[in-house]
Amino acid sequence: MNIFAHFKTVLMIISILPLNQAGLKRIIASERGKVVIVNIWATWCAPCKAEMPALASFERQHAGQKVKLILLSANEQEEKKAAETFLERLGFGSLAYIKQDKDDQQFINAVDPTWSGALPATFVYDRSGKLVKSFLGTVDMNQLEALIKTLSAR
């Protein structure tokens, strides 16, 4: 048995934690001093899954920097396993969450009142925890990188 292959499998297991709107606000506040990116996705959203490899690569490139990527699944709790399996395959290292709120409308408005609820959606918070940019639809990685650079320099 290849012990390294076994280790790799063990290390890539992801446990997605339930998170409600208040919890999301607490996490963003606790990361003050870092630029925080919240990507909201779902296993039923094809473009969300298509942009995930780029986000995984983004996370690796910014490891150890004052940038925090939070993945928040909009799946229902019953679909948690499918979401975990998908993220494990991509090798994400960060904590991931799943929407706990039953009321999607409240959840949408709590994240950003101007958001229609269309996925994927990526929200960028500056180092003080203020929402500064909402990427609605597939995130433009060049724009995201430029924004991170600007916000990190402030």
């Binding site: 094809a46 909009a74 999607d104 229609s116």
Partner: protein, 195 residues
Amino acid sequence: MKRILLAFTTFWFAASTLGSFVDARAAGIMHLAETVLTDHGNPVTVRSADAPVTAVIFVSSTCEVTAAYSARLEQLFADYSPKKVQFVFVDANANETPADVDAYVKAKGWTFRVYKDDSNRLADQLDAHVTPEVFLFDKAGDLRYHGRVDDSRPGTNITSKDTRDALDAMLSGKPVPVAETKALGCTIYRVQSHK
């Protein structure tokens, strides 16, 4: 002092204009008297004056949320078409061809047609961004309801049948109980983003 007064007046005007714009969709100020969509490249004109209620519903042939609502959309059509509701199912996604839509309609067993909004003109006019997304207009073309079909994507725990409630209210001449709702769904892929 004059400058301060001018600045305040400008701010007040901008704020009140923005406020009325934001409220417009829910308050029924948004208007759709006529629109032109396509059916396999052929223009199809839809007029709100042709029916007591016109239901414009944006769908997608690749969106799993549309798929989850597939049977409920068919049932909505079956239940309300006899009540003179004019249904206009629209695919505005630039990455979905008429052939894709045909195959999807067949696979889902839908008995209604799905028209293309090739240039996103209607999606832009209504500021539609997500599928499925419902807009209900009265005979005068005023928007009376905008938002979700209901509050449960899987359909297992529906507590609010928003579109049906709005249709029932409109058909019986009553005010729509909740005029604006939101739901998680798929992004409508615009022509611009597909290039």
